[in-house]
Symmetry: D2
Subunit: 382 residues, 4 copies
């Protein structure tokens, strides 16, 4: 009932605070025999890491994971897998002057209202720092779906402020495009539309100089996902994916397929027509997956999910991410005693959350897919 | 692990299909001593009922609930509360000619891929018919939050096609406005902007005559919700509310507060400033709720939730609902054997899902709030 | 978190009271495609039914199940399966004179202390009447384990008062022996030791005439269970089985293998030596079960489970069942207001609970095994 | 669904192996504001620690806990509380020669059958080493029930081999008696019957010299527990307590109250009569607990629980613990390839598990009581 666990068959439980000793995740339900190393974890942890580029926070956290259990001789054992990431650059002094103030846009007040506690050390449990162990768990989830059906989850930035990327085919975007520019240099903003990426970087830099921040949107795409994952009622795959993304800090909206645009559409222009897919059927039977003939849709307005269950078409989701709430400029607020006051958040913050949001979102989507895969296998395997 | 249960402390488990004997819900965790009658359930069931107006499906389902357990001498006992709603107007012959066809936009194919079963009787478990018992459970949830802290959940239609309602203050909309027009006649489309409501009805009627359907959007507002409900990490209140809404059929997007508009905003224009709220503090202490001084925000761009926990400001959510997929006009599809075919769905369908979506959405939001209230009380009560 | 759900992958949720409209169970996680009829359910329901013989309660309950959902064209669909059993012989007048008295040995007082409610109608939710839908769920579980690996669960009475049955090989007891005497007449006490059975029946009849009741013990044996089911830490198969049996009314003790006798044993006389089992290996590979060579033990002091995981040897459990608390003779107690009083429980009660306990215990054991089978398949399938 | 989590409102999730880096527990649902230090944890950890006396294993594990999260300024925050205990004395070489052998009485074979993995390093996840973090979690649980209602949980040894302790009143046994002999020296066997304790120690020493081990039984008593905790159906408090105890290694039987002796009792001699308890009522109302008049029973054959719910009388449970399976003498077994072999387990093992079992059992009982207390408060608080 308490809220630090996510998933059912693939179950992730986390603990840790931004300024405590570190964060830890226990991943339960991992199938035995999956190769896993610390280096595997580092790949996505480095994509989430502070200080990775000039447009993200300049805190210096190495985010070195230690595998405490669940791996023996390089492979998962099937027992609970714990990963610890210690905090190293905490600088809790940054926060001492806001000890009795509620930062606007932050969880300070609502957290205090819930627990009667003001953990003023940079957000405590409410800090996005806790997402590092989610990213580690996401690596394990990605390995499960990759091994089971070649599943892939890739996220990228589609909007920063008014700059909107042009993505012709979400399912065709590659990790290479998300991480690197054509000249081989890092794609620091993680937008595969190179021209838009350049302008996004410029906008973010302008805002940082202006002591401000900016919102944006991300798109996450899952491909090679077999038809049949998800549940028809409460645990619709779209519902679990939405919960997964909304569980990340700063997300104010989630949509899939045509999303909010559906409000203006007619049924006759919205429905995707089914069409046979001999390739999908062949691939599916090669992997020993469920036996119905695989079909496809000519268009993908439905975003890969119908009736809460995957259709085999690419899953396409978008999340809106608000501008960073911590601002070095003065804002009005109240004290813990309910008095008016002003606040200026020093610390070192991301002027735009989107570049580091991508690996977090991928991790959460992969966790949901791994969970539903194991659930499907337990119940529905012919 | 299976997906027919929702919630933790207030836990709802359902079963039933559109063309079986009926639907049943078991509600577990209900506090003892809450007055509950069949008539209480009927109020919202009638708002969800087919045949309630000319712009909804003309199926004739009485939706008469029977309380099977959990109520003794007019009050809840604290033990599991079961409600059965029998199906009466099933007409399964309507579906026999589509037995081997997958209806575009429906769960037919994905359901078959999951279970290896084609329940062709109008959607079976995937039909929106299952939401009638959710609405019944929502009535119980509404009573819990009303009794505990005067909490209210009201939903209304804000968009049908290109017609967008003008709502000045979401927290001021009344159930009366949603259900009745100024002249006392039923507000069949459930839009409190009277002028927009009139145009929405006309649009829906036009589309029905055109054998088509139309999408739209709903707004759900929860007021008098105390600060402090929700969890800081996975079970953020926004995440559970999003899952709740996405678990309803046809929802393609959910947002709260400024929602997707946050993508274009700067932190300095997005953050809501805190301000003291002596009234909220007085009300809160009158009810024996958590002890921190209650604060408010001057604006409510954050939609009543920060860091996954309620702030005491009104919770404002929006959901995008796609146009009905069942169309009496011809569409292309494939057969269960993977052959090309055409389909025309007869049946009797809603040309626009929004009017009947409102009580479903209210129910799911109330269930989440009741759940988090009981969870808060168990863990955090001082 | 509320307590009316049992199991994880195979999940049973119940509702209902002894004197309400009836009991209902929602079974979630049922694999699709399992043949299931009302007649299948009746077999075990009739073994649990009141009035089945002269040594059980003479209440007259038909216990006719109605399948509300989850079965289509004679087979499970994989969606939630609901079964309703209406109460028909309630006679709530039997209880009106004890409305303000707490019956000794019953849940009346503890229930009132919990909920602040005195449901005086014969126990309400605390009545053993709720076990009828558990037995129905057990039928589904038995079908799953039978289909998956030929698993069987058989229970029988091993003790009534001082009469102890002689069972040479628990794994060799057949359902036929439990249900029929050699002459073909019903084995009303369900003890496969025919001589002991005769004396048990006589003892029970003596006690009924004496307005008293008597305790006893049951043994439940599961055979053909593959090695590898269960979890190494909290969800040890022995822990889940013990919880399952203790969740039944009147159980005061559970043991497996040598049970409490282990307290006096040395390690050198307790350990069971492993030995190869080519037959088990052949059978296991025929069924496509896990790939390690199957081994056996020469003796079965360990009762089929080591380290919380099945070994492939027969699972042997025993449960102690207390004498019926409802007695027609006068007993001292207190009123709801805390005053001393005397009570005489009229009603119609079992003088010995054991004969009807058997199908309940079998059902709970089968539910645990089905649950762990589906869990194993989801996580560990190679 | 995976099995490394226990409890609902007070939820414990663990990971770790005997020869990995260490064990970690995440405790979720802890109420905020409870004082907690590393020293608090050490008290019970030292009672469980290897090497604490001459009659337990001579491994040398300091069992130093590190609180990773959930405590701020000396008090719990209400967020997930993680505790790490590193392994220090692993000596995995002790096990290398049994790499391909299944140890009789151990989980080696069943674990391999489940996961397809042979973690030969001393049991891996199946080792009792994982219970150290359960004991740490139990300290937190004990603090919760002590603060809420003065609840106490005390365990002690009642039997080793044929030596049975004489305990006149289980509810009167003190921690002092369990831990110290009248002369102030440690009561190394944790049996409050001093004469029996002396003989138990002698028996254990004899067996160790004989390269053998011996079983026994423990009694666990919970006092000051308010009436009303537990659930009427599946989550009966007796069922959850039994699961808790059976989840510990080596437990073959659990009983409460008169336990297995009930099999020979008549209802008229088994039922405990209710009697008014003005003292309990006064204490209960002083603490603001549920409002029914508190009653007592003249005798406590029911062991403090009726209908799955506490009665306010002391909870009295007994667990049978088998003799240690690891024996330094030669035993017959099979290899991983299914060939006959002999084995001699070197390592350093407890000749009798009981003395160190006591704090483990207390911890599990306390965890169940804390869980049900928080569950009661969430749902039933008037």
């Amino acid at each position: 009932m308490p809220g630090n666990t996510f998933g059912h068959a693939f179950r992730v439980t986390t603990a840790g605070e931004s300024h405590g000793p570190g964060n830890v995740v226990i991943i339960d339900g991992v199938p035995p025999g999956i190769p896993l190393t610390v280096e595997d974890l580092k790949v996505d942890l480095d994509r989430r890491r502070p200080g990775q580029s000039k447009i993200v926070t300049q805190r210096n956290e190495a985010d070195e994971p230690e595998i405490l259990s669940g791996v023996f001789e390089g492979k998962t054992t099937g027992t609970s897998l714990a990963i610890l990431i210690r905090n190293t650059d905490q600088r809790s002094r940054d926060y001492s002057d806001i000890k009795d103030l509620y930062r606007p846009g932050h969880a300070d007040y609502s957290f205090d209202a819930k627990y009667g506690i003001r953990d003023y050390r940079g957000g405590g449990r409410s800090s996005a720092r806790e997402t590092n162990v989610r990213v580690a768990a996401g690596v394990v989830a990605k390995k499960i779906i990759e091994a089971a059906f070649g599943g892939k989850v890739i996220g990228y930035v589609v909007q920063v402020g008014d700059i909107v990327a042009q993505i012709d085919d979400p399912a065709a975007v590659t990790l290479e495009q998300v991480e690197k520019l054509p000249d081989g240099s890092p794609n620091v903003v993680r937008c595969p539309d190179v021209a838009a990426a350049q302008r996004m970087v410029e906008l973010i830099e302008t805002l940082r100089k202006d002591q401000d921040s900016i919102g944006g949107a991300a798109e996450i795409v899952a491909t090679n996902i077999p038809a049949g994952l998800g549940e028809p009622v409460f645990d619709k795959i779209k519902a679990d994916l939405a919960k997964a993304l909304f569980s990340l800090p700063a997300v104010l909206g989630v949509e899939y397929g045509v999303g909010f645009r559906c409000a203006t559409m007619r049924g006759s222009e919205h429905n995707d027509e089914f069409t046979p897919s001999p390739e999908a059927s062949a691939e599916s039977s090669r992997r020993g997956l469920p036996g119905v003939p695989q079909v496809a849709t000519r268009t993908n307005r439905h975003g890969g999910m119908l009736g809460g269950i995957t259709t085999g078409m690419p899953i396409v989701l978008r999340a809106a991410v608000k501008p960073t709430s911590s601002l070095p400029r003065e804002q009005r607020t109240v004290t813990r005693q309910g008095e008016l006051a002003t606040i200026r958040t020093r610390g070192r913050h991301d002027p735009c959350l989107l570049p580091r949001f991508i690996p977090m979102a991928e991790a959460m989507v992969a966790i949901v897919l791994a969970d539903h895969w194991l659930r499907w296998r337990g119940q529905c395997l012919p």
